[in-house]
Symmetry: C2
Subunit: 214 residues, 2 copies
């Protein structure tokens, strides 16, 4: 076993949270989960710390840990940081290693194929992968890690609202636009288009959340 028990438990819980098995607001009881997973409370508490780090659960003193329910303010904040990281990636595109640039193009293509098949979950996945690839152009481990945490949290926010099946569809063409600008070396235009993309997506999500949560 290359990983510790706590890390394995963390992975299991992360999957359950992102998969919707543990929806936002759920309390993660130490005793119940410990018996379910066959680990002690000490080990479970260590796993909780790792999830807190990823912003997937929140720890309330003397009350326990709960799956977070990101609100409109969280989404706005997430997009603020997203913009900073992705724009930095676009600006570093010129000097980025070839494989990283190819990953951007590949992600756009994957999203388009999935859309042709009508596989919307796969479209959503590919869309996020495209934007992660943008941030990855900086070739920075810390930016990659921050972006991964951010996107995981964003997935959680999607769980908290009625996700429109074709939510990502209108953004596909804009991803392709950004990719074209990048490939042509028109970094300024790519940056402008990306900024507009993120602003529109953020507003659409926030509006949807406000409509369904009066």
């Amino acid at each position: 076993m290359a990983r510790s028990t706590a890390q394995r438990v963390t992975a299991v819980l992360r999957d359950r949270i992102e998969g919707g098995v543990l929806p936002p607001g759920t309390q993660l009881s130490e005793e119940a989960l410990g018996q379910d997973l066959g680990v002690s409370r000490n080990t479970l508490r260590e796993a909780f710390r790792l999830l807190v780090h990823d912003n997937l659960v929140e720890h309330q003193l003397n009350r326990g840990v709960f799956v977070r329910t990101p609100g409109p303010a969280d989404v706005g904040d997430i997009y603020c940081l997203r913009a900073a990281l992705e724009i930095a990636g676009v600006r570093a595109a010129a000097g980025a290693p070839q494989p990283l640039r190819e990953a951007v193009t590949a992600a756009v293509a994957e999203a388009e194929w999935a859309a042709d098949d009508g596989d919307w979950p796969q479209v959503a996945t590919a869309d996020l992968r495209f934007h992660r690839a943008l941030a990855a152009l900086s070739d920075s481990p810390r930016i990659d890690a921050a972006m991964d945490r951010l996107l995981a949290e964003l997935r959680l926010a999607f769980h908290a609202m009625p996700s429109p099946r074709g939510f990502h569809q209108p953004f596909l063409i804009r991803n392709r636009t950004i990719e074209r600008f990048l490939a042509n070396g028109e970094l300024g235009r790519a940056e402008t288009e990306l900024t507009a993309y993120l602003d529109d997506a953020r507003q659409l999500i926030v509006d949807t959340m406000l409509e369904n949560r009066p």
Copy 2:
């Protein structure tokens, strides 16, 4: 007591690490530290997780936790993320709340006063505070948190090399330049100057580290 024991222990260890009492490379023994601080091993392990989150210590499986020794690659990476966050702040300067803009100006002034007194540790602190204030212009909790972790790690990197007493001095005038551009609304020039600043600082640190660690 508003905070948990683990959080208090984390604060103590953080101070000891940043203060140089626990220099890079030191192993944080569970039993020794537990007796020293009067807490059990379980509690101490929870505190370790929080420090791992801040990148101040690293956890090696079945070996324990050690104070990190950031290398040139880490410094380069830190500056990459720093640039992304600070540039984002500069771009948001126009729409930032008044108090946040005033904090930028105040930090520059503090650094200059400290320099007049020859208080170089205070200059270093004010310098970092200035750049944290730049990132804070985005008015984003997540960016603030990321920036705080980043600067704490950077302080650790300074510990790992012979810190020139007047390291920050030549950068003071450039901070003032950036602040002037911001106050005048010349965001483009502020961004250019900031980018050059970060590039020079990174290169100076990396070169110093390479010289003293062949």
